[in-house]
């Protein structure tokens, strides 16, 4: 249940950007969340609703989550494969000498402001 801690970090970052851009209300925060980032999207949006509504800047603000599929690269046969389906073992050559190419992102992509 680290989603609440993550939400506090998102709010901190959004507040800073809003201040730099002289924005007094944000209507949507778009996140890029990797499939194997260990974040559960529904927990994140629940925590977001609870915490965001306490802030004037973020009252009623949506949290949109784009899921980034996880992809692993095999160092032996140099082919890519789906991490969630195959885990650490390459389905092409059965090597375990593999590493995560993408899919652990926890990024704030953009803020949307309605005027």
């Amino acid at each position: 249940m680290h989603e609440l801690g993550i939400v506090f970090y998102i709010i901190k970052n959004v507040k800073q950007v809003a201040e730099e851009n002289h924005v007094d209300h944000v209507s949507n925060v778009v996140m890029d969340i990797g499939e194997v980032s260990t974040i559960i999207p529904s927990y994140l949006t629940d925590c977001w609703r609870w915490a965001a509504d306490k802030e004037t800047l973020l009252k009623g603000c949506k949290l949109t989550i784009n899921t980034i599929p996880a992809v692993t690269l095999c160092d032996d046969c140099h082919q890519e494969f789906e991490t969630v389906k195959h885990g650490k073992t390459c389905p092409h050559c059965h090597s375990e000498n593999t590493w995560l190419l993408r899919g652990n992102e926890v990024e704030i992509k953009e803020l949307q402001i309605e005027s």
Binding site: G5, Y9, V17, K88, E96, E107, I108, K109, E110, L111
Partner: protein
Amino acid sequence: MGEIKIIEIKKSVFADNEQDANNLRKELKAKGIYLLNLMSAPGSGKTTTLIQTINRIKDKLNVAVMEADIDSDVDAIKIKEATGIPSIQLHTGGMCHLDAEMTRQGLDNVTTENIDLIILENVGNLVCPAEFDTGSCGNAMILSVPEGDDKPLKYPLMFSVCDLVIINKTDVLPYFDFDMEKCKKYILLRNPRAKVIPISAKTGEGVDDFANWLVNEVKTWRCEK
């Protein structure tokens, strides 16, 4: 409904914390203090392991302990009574982990004068503490035999951030289907750099190895530029 303005950010949520953590590490380096972040699931024997270990190294190093828990101060009191070293309790106020800022606040309450080693006993949890860099100089975790040899497969991030994995409660190995070799293999699969030390905090078996590892880490940290 008017127009929608978009501000692009493209920034990792962890970026600020990582910056804080790097700054904290630099400050610790300047003071010659080694901060160990010790993580594990609840009930793996962190506090007992610490008591055994601290009693073996307190003549060589000045040690302090920071206990992080959601609530209560039982661990800090236990450590202080059993070892006589300074220990403080941090409350995370419901949060499941510590970040660099919380660690810094905790450190402000520890006398850092003449201290060589500070051990941070993180909140008992195998998921969240692995995500947040505390600013520590090294990460270690304790996996206990009753938890099972498959944990490195289930909590890959935790095992991949640790420099040391202690396997505790080896005294109960005969009663569990715990395959030590398999467990070591799983750990190294996640993290080829990890060192694995099996111990029993109850009987004291292997605790010397952990104590030596710690003394050596502190020495190396101080010599590295």
